[in-house]
Amino acid sequence: QQQVKQSPQSLIVQKGGIPIINCAYENTAFDYFPWYQQFPGKGPALLIAIRPDVSEKKEGRFTISFNKSAKQFSLHIMDSQPGDSATYFCAASKGYDYKLSFGAGTTVTVRA
């Protein structure tokens, strides 16, 4: 049973556009929601993470929006650049054990 559902599977934007990736979860015990960025041939790397006590978090051009009542969270990439082209995974876990449940990933292509 997939605990975190991610959409879309892929998206293409022009440079400067704002790709938005959405995730939904069922387990209300989840309290840690990270996003990972993965380039081909590399392992995933933590991009940004949020806990449910805040509704939004920004780090550089990356923003997480979190809606606890809807059990949804999303990633926005502001002023996207070709170097942002990668696969992005949302994930969730409870506590600090980092046994993460991952979404299926979104391949983002930013065209110059």
């Binding site: 997939q2 975190v4 991610q6 599977q9 990270p34 990972y36 041939g41 590399k42 392992g43 995933p44 790397a45 933590l46 993470a49 995974f89 994930a91 054990d97 980092y98 046994k99 993460l100 449940s101 991952f102 979404g103 299926a104 990933g105």
Partner: protein, 109 residues
């Protein structure tokens, strides 16, 4: 920055062979994990360890086994590889966040 080393990076073997995927880390982190990743699919936790002599199975059933005799090493073994084991295997450690290695891509013919 985490230093996690996985070897081999790529492995192509025949059915029935025994293989061991190595994972080592230099940070002294107690918690280590193995995730399995197939193209277009979510990562699945298959094994984890909270310290020496501690190993547990993850959410996805796997025929692989792991050991944790030393803090730095967390090898994964398949006694008899099959084509269904073809996948990418990612090792990770955690300390405030989860750090991944670059993965071992296994192909079983």
């Amino acid at each position: 920055e985490a230093d996690i080393y996985q070897t081999p990076r790529y492995l192509v073997i025949g059915t029935g062979k025994k293989i061991t995927l190595e994972c080592s880390q230099t940070m002294g982190h107690d918690k280590m994990y193995w995730y399995q990743q197939d193209p277009g699919m979510e990562l699945h936790l298959i094994h984890y360890s909270y310290g020496v002599n501690s190993t547990e199975k993850g959410d996805l059933s796997s025929e692989s086994t792991v050991s944790r005799i030393r803090t730095e090493h967390f090898p994964l073994t398949l006694e008899s590889a099959r084509p269904s084991h073809t996948s990418q295997y990612l090792c990770a450690t955690s300390h405030g966040e989860l750090f991944f290695g670059e993965g071992s891509r296994l192909t079983v013919l």
